[in-house]
């Protein structure tokens, strides 16, 4: 069968089981948009290419399948650079296809030419410039394999226009042959035994759980390990939902805005059992003072993460689910009675004491003007159905969402962790809803973030993707304002946005959404309930929140986690 390169590309995506492409056409990718008309693959036309990338990420975060985005060359390719960098940081599987000028024009500064493979080299797991149509099926198969195998991440295929028009003989490769890409998935048995021994000898262990647990589908294995050993669990920002918040062993989120118990349990621990986490600086605080007495067992599928930041006593390369399963077995096998002597009661009672004395809390009476953002999120969490997916932007609202939402399931939290990309929430929530149409999808967004990517609500209206946005309007780039208040003597520099410019309700309505404005606590629940009932279009609720509210606890930048500031509710911190 003779196909053009463009037809082969679409057919290859079909062979990969792709159900949806997020994209926007243009000159260099034009030939590829023609066969889309005849393909069963759904195409969602975005309003900005950054939206296409974040939608693909949101889709991937809730389905654990690679999201696919397709855009043209030059400015479109550079518009999708941010999502690539974001997906690379958060290990999100994504395949991006970019158009490129004809091979004969590459290097001549042709119209809409950009060195896309060069620009994206350090923010993709790998990228390919196709130079002959016969390579298309092979490269597509390789790209999906690389995006999903080992540590997941984004890949990019650059497709020159003449290659799209070139004829090729269709084939589909039976297997992918990449001699330089052979991820190790099985943990080394001897290391796993050593880890089991170290666990049994520990007195103050903590399961330090990162996003890798979600990517590898290891939640139920983790639950089994925690329940078997009674070891408490902290879930990082990327891992919220990997272990249920309602479980007695769940301590919640550690890190810069983590709760006191999660932060302090790690700090005082004698063994961090690190599962798919990477000792990010937002978790460790000042590294030299981080968990000074802890030994480290570190499990990751990416060997380069082991001992990159913190030296591991037992490094284990492998898929975290498979390693946890093997570890449970190894714990069973050891000498009889060992497990019986493993007594965490004093540690757990210490933890319970911290939890009682230093809970996450805020000023419920609501001094100050405007709604308490924490109250909005608590209410949202309690009024939405079990399994609701929550997306978030980046800023104070993201931290409040992570602190006050109840996370019970994996793949239900869609956020930008490593890169901290403002504007993630709206497009990512749309991608999530496309991936899981059966779930209710809410996004918590900031006014600053909303202004960066709100136009994708036009996409959502046009495509009838009923996402719901809780816009926490504090009239500020709030997180930056908080730093200026606390560390720059309240000298506010370029952080004021205004509460009513733009008029968010009018704007949302103009984009085809139902829009509500909520200013008093009594209106919060009814507005959420009203939004929950709308299923044929997007909804935006603008919550007017207290501009002065800050995120606590906080470990100031550069401080150790021992210097955690609890905030005014505990009589300290401003």
């Amino acid at each position: 069968m003779k196909l053009t390169g463009a037809q082969a590309l679409i057919k290859s995506l079909e062979m990969q089981g792709v159900e949806v492409i997020f994209g926007l056409p243009g000159g260099a990718i034009l030939p590829v948009y023609d066969p889309i008309i005849d393909s069963p693959i759904r195409h969602i036309l975005v309003r900005h290419e950054q939206g296409a990338g974040h939608m693909a990420e949101g889709y991937a975060q809730v389905t654990n399948r690679p999201g696919v985005a397709m855009v043209t060359s030059g400015p479109a390719a550079t518009n999708i650079v941010t999502p690539l960098a974001n997906a690379y940081m958060d290990s999100t599987p994504m395949v991006v296809i970019t158009g490129q000028v004809a091979t004969s024009s590459i290097g001549t500064d042709a119209f809409q030419e950009a060195d896309t493979t060069g620009i994206t080299m350090s923010i993709t797991k790998h990228n390919w410039l196709i130079t002959d149509a016969s390579e298309v099926p092979e490269v597509v198969a390789e790209a999906f394999h690389v995006a999903t195998a080992g540590r997941p991440g984004p890949v990019l295929i650059d497709m020159p226009k003449d290659v799209s028009n070139q004829m090729m003989d269709w084939y589909w490769p039976e297997a992918v042959d990449l001699p330089g890409f052979k991820p190790t998935t099985k943990g080394h048995p001897r290391s796993i035994q050593a880890a089991a021994r170290m666990i049994k000898e520990s007195k103050r262990p903590v399961l330090y759980v990162g996003g890798g647990v979600i990517r590898s589908g290891a939640s139920s294995a983790l639950l089994a390990l925690a329940e078997k050993t009674g070891i408490p669990v902290v879930t990082t920002l990327m891992a919220r939902g990997a272990f249920p918040d309602s479980h007695p062993l769940c301590l919640g989120m550690p890190g810069m805005h983590g709760n006191y118990t999660a932060v302090t349990a790690m700090q005082k621990s004698d063994l961090l059992i690190t599962l798919g986490a990477r000792f990010d600086d937002r978790v460790t605080g000042k590294l030299a003072g981080f968990a000074p007495e802890a030994k480290v067992i570190h499990v990751d599928i990416d060997p380069a993460e082991l001992s990159k930041i913190r030296q591991a006593d037992i490094p284990i390369v492998g898929d975290v689910r498979s390693v946890i399963e093997d570890l449970i077995e190894a714990l069973d096998k050891g000498e009889a009675g060992e497990m019986a002597q493993f007594d965490l009661a004093p540690w757990i009672s210490q933890i319970r004491d911290w939890q009682k004395r230093f809970p996450l809390t805020y000023d419920r009476e609501g001094s100050g003007s405007g709604l308490k953002p924490q109250y909005v999120i608590e209410t949202l969490s309690s009024l939405t159905p079990e399994g609701t997916i929550l997306a978030s932007g980046v800023g104070q609202h993201q931290m409040w969402a992570s602190q006050y939402w109840r996370f019970e399931h994996p793949n239900a939290w869609v956020n930008s962790g490593g890169l901290g990309t403002m504007g993630y929430a709206v497009p990512a929530s749309i991608g999530a809803k496309v991936g899981r149409p059966d779930k209710m999808v809410w996004a918590v967004d900031g006014d600053g973030c909303f202004q960066m990517t709100a136009q994708e609500l036009v996409t959502a209206s046009a495509e009838r993707i009923p996402v719901k946005i809780a816009l926490l309007n504090n009239a500020y780039l709030g997180m930056v304002r908080q730093w200026q208040e606390m560390f720059y003597d309240q000298r506010y520099s370029e952080v004021y946005l205004s509460p009513d410019l733009p008029d968010y309700v009018k704007w949302a309505e103009a984009m085809g959404c139902v829009a509500l404005r909520v200013e008093s606590p009594e209106e919060v629940a009814p507005a959420i309930e009203k939004a929950n009932d709308i299923n044929d279009r997007p909804v935006v609720i603008e919550f007017r929140i207290d501009s002065g509210e800050k995120v606590y606890p906080m470990v100031p930048a550069g401080a150790t986690n021992d210097e955690i500031v609890l905030g005014p509710m505990f009589g300290g911190g401003q």
Partner: protein
């Protein structure tokens, strides 16, 4: 868009020093012979803040592969991080770490030396002692070539400097692990992982 062709690229990125101190280590990296591989390796070093002291690239006897010989400066980063990050490049097939103490190394030096009638004889004598070749002869200059260990090249340069060095060029180092007298070759090879 060209393949990694035969090239010998001497590089001195920030931090690279002329002294071949103990902080240098040689990585022999087998890569797929494909477009852009050299760029990927170079960008990885630059983005992660690793220092390349010198780099030599050439095809191997198997045309599917090229070999990069990278002399890395270990002051900034542990070798283990560098090799692990290199391994993450899809086009990297195999990395052999060669400790300079367990390696045979060669580097090429080309030098243009001022050589008038009075000094020419002495220069040729020195060249003879070191085994350098005369590549080109001008009225008042000689171009010499010497392939040897980096230390020998240093020594030779030191001596001919006295006569007036007009131009010097050195290639990056190429190295192989010393042969194990019991059979086989030394060096620590690392297989691939994700």
């Amino acid at each position: 868009m060209t393949n990694v062709g035969p090239a010998v690229v001497p590089m001195s990125l920030p931090g690279g020093r002329s002294a071949r101190g103990l902080s240098h280590h040689v990585l022999s990296v087998l890569v797929e012979n494909r477009a852009g591989v050299l760029a990927r390796v170079a960008q990885l070093f630059s983005r992660r803040g690793y220092n390349i002291y010198s780099l030599a690239v050439a095809p191997t006897d198997d045309e599917r592969f090229s070999r990069l010989t990278v002399v890395v400066d270990l002051e900034s980063t542990p070798l283990e991080q560098i090799t692990k990050q290199l391994h993450k490049l899809i086009n990297v097939i195999k990395i052999t770490e060669i400790d300079p103490a367990d390696a045979v190394e060669q580097e090429l030096l080309l030098a243009v030396v001022a050589a008038d009638v009075s000094s020419r004889g002495q220069i040729l004598e020195l060249a003879g002692i070191f085994g350098a070749k005369v590549l080109d002869v001008g009225l008042e200059r000689l171009t010499l070539a010497l392939a040897d260990t980096p230390e020998k090249l240093d020594g030779f340069t030191e001596l001919i400097k006295v006569f007036g060095l007009i131009e010097v060029q050195r290639s990056g180092r190429v190295a192989l692990a010393k042969l194990n007298r019991g059979g086989g070759r030394g060096g620590v090879s690392r297989g691939k992982a994700s």
